[in-house]
Symmetry: C2
Subunit: 272 residues, 2 copies
């Protein structure tokens, strides 16, 4: 029965979001997106840890893992592979930016179909648009996956071509940060470089997992500032997120990139 | 009857916001806050014009003035003075940053009590905290009152003292931008200076009205970059928004400021 519903709000199939919810009013909350298989989320410990950490940055106490897991298991059937999105907001409040003294966070769990990735992405890699919008530095919010995503939307509105998979985002100093829905890695010889996200960007859990796997793959890791020109000199480039795992990048704008199977190796190490 | 309801969503007292609404998912929308008297919003032409303009920046077609006015008149009784907030979002959409090809904007109209401003604010002026968080530059979103307001929330969480009315926000170049819920003007002799908002901040309609009234008050207007140190040398300072009109600033952090009745003159010119 549950498989016909698309969402649960605070554990109920009958609730929606109040316009007084601070998530709606101000984007005052955080979210996660993950793959569900057999009614279980892939990499749940990492997702839940990140959710708790992101909530803490903006002063929200994250609902318990038990509560969220119970929501997920009500919404997702044992025989389906689908996408779960968990949104946690600060809850309802009176008008004004000051959070209420006592708040009850709102939790929404939403089901979406698993995207159908083209076989072509696995075999030949993906093309990236170079976005015109440049990301703003805000060290107090950098790294977390909060609900203030207008920059990503403005970036995503820049292209309509079906053969572009994602857009690469630079900051206002022309350093590469990430893609609109992905993190990015570049291999130079035996070193994997991924951009420093202390000033902007979302530090996703697949990025974190790849950083953790590098030693096993005999690769050094450097988290640092890198320009687009420097990135384009890489031996190969991949992008990653929790849904597709990792894809080789075949083109960035007009530049065609070398490919040596890094994404395939990483996918295998990630077990996707 | 209607006065017992707090909000209307898409013209209905029975609706709420879907978790699939892009306003909730990404802060993909804009809003306005205004005073209602006799079932009519103060300065409606300016508010509606700003709503249309802000929507256009992010590619939303604003619902008609007639539709919004009809919502307001359903929600607000003739004999009450209260605050109306209008939220316009891009509407519902599937997961992902790309806006759907066809969208129907969501409109929420919310009633809140009119804040009870202290007589002390009118007589002695208000104190401002100097916020630690520094605003990020994003020229593609600057000036508009969008739903991505985590910076304002983080700023507002910095103080708890009842005798602080608002917090002054600087950008990362240490220029003064605005306050968390107000714009700011400083008078130097016969010139009113207000910060340039091309890189961050919200260009409110009361700020725009004051700029328009300056000539009548025999004041020059300069919209420019100004540091906090330079601001503190002003002959007097005021802050403004659509609810309280204008208040004289008596203190910024530890600095006590001169007062010569500018806010009173401006309130009178604004007709508040």
């Amino acid at each position: 029965m549950t498989r016909f519903n698309t969402y649960l709000v605070n554990g109920s199939f009958d609730q929606a979001i109040s316009p007084l919810d601070r998530g709606f009013a101000y984007g005052d909350g955080v979210f996660r997106t993950m793959v569900m298989r057999n009614s279980l989320p892939d990499n749940w410990p990492q997702h839940y840890q990140k959710l708790v950490a992101d909530c803490a940055v903006i002063g929200i106490v994250c609902p318990s893992a038990e509560l969220l897991m119970s929501d997920l298991q009500q919404l997702f059937a044992i025989d389906e592979i689908a996408v779960a999105k968990i949104v946690i907001t600060r809850g309802e409040g009176a008008r004004g930016y000051a959070p209420p003294a006592i708040t009850t966070p709102t939790r929404a769990v939403i089901k979406s179909p698993m995207p159908q990735y083209s076989m072509n992405h696995l075999v030949n890699g993906v093309n990236l648009h170079v976005c015109n919008i440049q990301m703003a530095h805000q060290p107090k919010l950098a790294g977390i996956k909060h609900l203030n995503r207008l920059e990503n939307i403005m970036a995503r509105m820049e292209w309509h071509e079906d053969n572009i998979f994602d857009g690469i985002l630079l900051d206002q100093q022309d350093s590469v940060i990430e893609c609109t829905m992905s993190n990015i890695f570049a291999r130079f010889n035996h070193t994997l470089i991924t951009p420093d996200l202390r000033f902007c960007g979302v530090a996703g859990i697949t990025r974190q997992r790849i950083i953790g796997l590098a030693a096993m793959l005999k690769l050094n890791i450097e988290v640092k500032k890198i320009s687009l020109d420097a990135l384009l000199q890489a031996d190969e480039i991949l992008i990653c997120n929790s849904l597709y795992g990792a894809f080789q990048v075949s083109k960035i704008g007009d530049a065609t990139l070398p490919q040596h199977g890094l994404a395939k190796t990483i996918r295998s190490a990630l077990n996707v």
